[in-house]
């Protein structure tokens, strides 16, 4: 009896991994096609595949097909790719934050990391405008995501230093410190906005709620290296995060270099949160809800959680973006309004469920 149950468990394991990854990948494909198909002009998925295939072969469309090709390739494709990068990046950054802080409530958007990135980005827009004049163009373009990355890095390091004492992370201290850092960064951003010009002010407004509206190929290219860095870090971090779930001392006992794991995690979190803020503003709840969903469906093991969270985060953000740009068409809702609108009630529901479970 016991043996057959164990054998069954073992047999189920690889199947579960395949099922989880397959399901998440399928959602990404569906969201990708939907994001390219849906808009003021609806384009059939079949046409989209043709247009993408033709573009990959290097063929240029002409005549009537040109209009659709332009919409798909020049308007919707950069936005869709940016959405995948940003959604995947914030979901991964969320999962890593929760893992390293050993807390399912930790999320870069909630504990001040994204605000730190936003402050640094705002400073760059106001001050960097003058600097960019003297910088080589490549560096001037990379300046915004780099600054946001640094802002997120400083906020994360500060948060960790404040909330961790002798290897123990206090949850309450972390949440309060996060609130304080978020408020401080918001105040700093407000101060920066105060001295900003009208044009700069318009650039700021989308940060308060986040948007994929300004998507360009340049932004895709700017975000890509940061998200790749985060993805590479995640492949090195999965086993360490499982072990850190036991506690830092215990992770050391099973052979994890905990200090190194922490620095890698902090670097990855800052890259994901910073770059996504730089190109799309502060988008809440994706980093919180997506890892939670994966844990509910497929368990908390990070070897499966991290890739699934990256995929599902991208798919969900694209879905939210489709809603944001169609629901009040021809106008567009800020993306953060949609993610918070769905995410916050979902999160409250999760808390209530957990409460019921805890009270027996």
């Amino acid at each position: 009896m016991a043996v057959s149950a164990a054998t069954e468990l073992r047999a189920r394991r690889p199947r579960r991994t395949l099922l989880a990854l397959g399901l998440c990948a399928l959602l990404v494909i569906v969201a990708f096609l939907a994001s390219l198909a849906i808009g003021p002009v609806t384009i059939a998925p079949g046409r989209i595949v043709e247009i993408l295939a033709a573009a990959l072969r290097g063929e240029r469309a002409s005549g009537a097909a040109l209009r659709e090709a332009v919409i798909v390739l020049d308007v919707r494709l950069p936005r869709t790719l940016l959405g995948l990068l940003v959604g995947g990046g914030i979901a991964l950054a969320g999962a890593v934050t929760q893992g390293i802080f050993r807390n399912p409530l930790a999320d870069p958007g909630l504990i001040g990391i994204s605000n730190g990135a936003a402050l640094a980005a705002a400073v760059w827009i106001v001050a960097g405008g003058h600097l960019a004049f003297y910088l080589p163009p490549a560096l001037a373009d990379a300046g915004l995501p780099l600054m946001a990355f640094c802002g997120a890095l400083i906020a994360t390091v500060a948060l960790y230093a404040i909330s961790t004492h002798e290897g123990r992370t206090s949850v309450v201290t972390m949440l309060f410190a996060g609130i304080a850092i978020a408020a401080l960064a918001a105040a700093g951003t407000g101060l920066t906005v105060f001295v900003a010009s009208d044009q700069q002010l318009r650039d700021f407004t989308f940060w308060s709620f986040g948007s994929l509206g300004g998507a360009t190929w340049q932004k895709v290219a700017a975000a890509l290296p940061f998200m790749l860095l985060l993805a590479v870090i995640c492949t090195r971090l999965a086993r360490a995060l499982d072990a850190v779930a036991l506690g830092e001392a215990e992770a050391f006992h099973v052979g994890i270099d905990v200090q190194r794991a922490k620095w890698l995690a902090i670097l990855g979190i800052a890259a994901g949160a910073g770059a996504s803020v730089a190109v799309a503003g502060v988008i809440g709840f994706v980093g919180l809800v997506v890892p939670h969903l994966i844990r509910l469906m497929f368990g908390p093991g990070h070897r499966l959680l991290l890739p699934c969270a990256g995929l599902l985060g991208g798919a969900l953000l694209l879905g939210a973006d489709v809603v944001a740009r169609t629901i009040v068409s021809p106008a567009e809702l800020p993306l953060g309004v949609v993610t918070a609108g769905f995410g916050a009630p979902f999160f409250l529901w999760l808390l209530l469920r957990r409460r019921a479970a805890l009270m027996g």
Binding site: A5, A6, A249, P300
Partner: protein, 254 residues
């Protein structure tokens, strides 16, 4: 041989360890005893490599512990901490497998280890709702999985392995410790219960005020005079061959 020599640790002007020493031999069980605040936990942390002593040295098979990378150290020794809260809803077998070096046979090792602590039937259950005793045995299974995946029989450090166990489970764990020693594992356990210490130990090391106050076989260390000196209580040690025993009912504070 796993050896701590002349260990000194002070925190904030308070001396926790002052020249403490202990040897863990392959195939032997060493037990650390001593009153609260004697430095047992500190010495345990120093042995585990969690804490660097200000004075003295820990060597593992001749190599300085301070020079070993965490991953290498984990292949040579496993550690059972006192109580472990796991942050996310892992299953029992997932927790037991966290220490496993990734490999083809890790599933089989996890199953074997859970069977040894008599938890095979809970393998697929969540860890969080388990009782304290069950959790402790899952953690013990995790240490066994790590040990089996390492090099040679290895060493096992146990911090109060019987603390939240009932009588049957205490006996299960003590027997398991003896079996492991029989397989060549060098074991060090911190124990509060002197009778359990007498049952399982090849050697008892008694700490007091950060120093080794007594050291030897259970019969050598557990004497009326030594217990009085260590704990400030007067007792009459009995004899249940082959080990001494102590009845708390017959003890009084000196």
């Amino acid at each position: 041989m796993y050896r701590a020599l002349d260990i000194g640790v002070a925190v904030g002007g308070r001396t926790l360890l002052d020249g403490a020493a202990v040897d863990i031999r392959p195939g032997h069980v060493a037990v650390l005893i001593g009153p609260n605040g004697a430095g047992k936990s500190t010495l345990f942390k120093v042995l585990a490599g969690e804490r660097r002593p200000q004075r003295g040295q820990v060597t593992l098979d001749g190599a300085d512990l301070a020079g070993l990378k965490p991953a290498r150290l984990a292949r040579l020794r496993a550690v059972l901490p006192q109580s472990v809260h796991v942050a996310f809803p892992f299953t029992v077998e997932e927790v037991a497998g966290i220490g496993a070096a990734p490999g083809r046979d890790s599933a089989a090792r996890i199953r074997r280890a859970l069977a040894r602590v008599e938890l095979a039937n809970l393998a697929g259950h969540s860890y969080d709702p388990l009782s304290g005793g069950e959790k402790q045995r899952v953690q013990l299974a995790r240490a066994l999985v790590q040990l089996e995946g390492g090099e040679g029989p290895g060493y096992l450090l146990l911090d109060e392995p019987t603390a939240s166990l009932d009588l049957a489970q205490q006996l299960l764990v003590l027997r398991l410790i003896r079996d492991l020693a029989g397989e060549g594992v060098g074991v060090l356990a911190v124990l509060h219960d002197l009778n359990l210490a007498a049952m399982v130990a090849d050697e008892i090391v008694a700490l007091k005020q950060g120093r080794v106050a007594a050291q030897g076989t259970p019969a050598d260390v557990l004497t009326d005079a030594r217990i009085a000196e260590l704990y400030g209580v007067s007792v009459r040690i009995g004899w249940a061959p082959p080990t001494p025993f102590l009845l708390p009912q017959a003890a009084s504070r000196a």
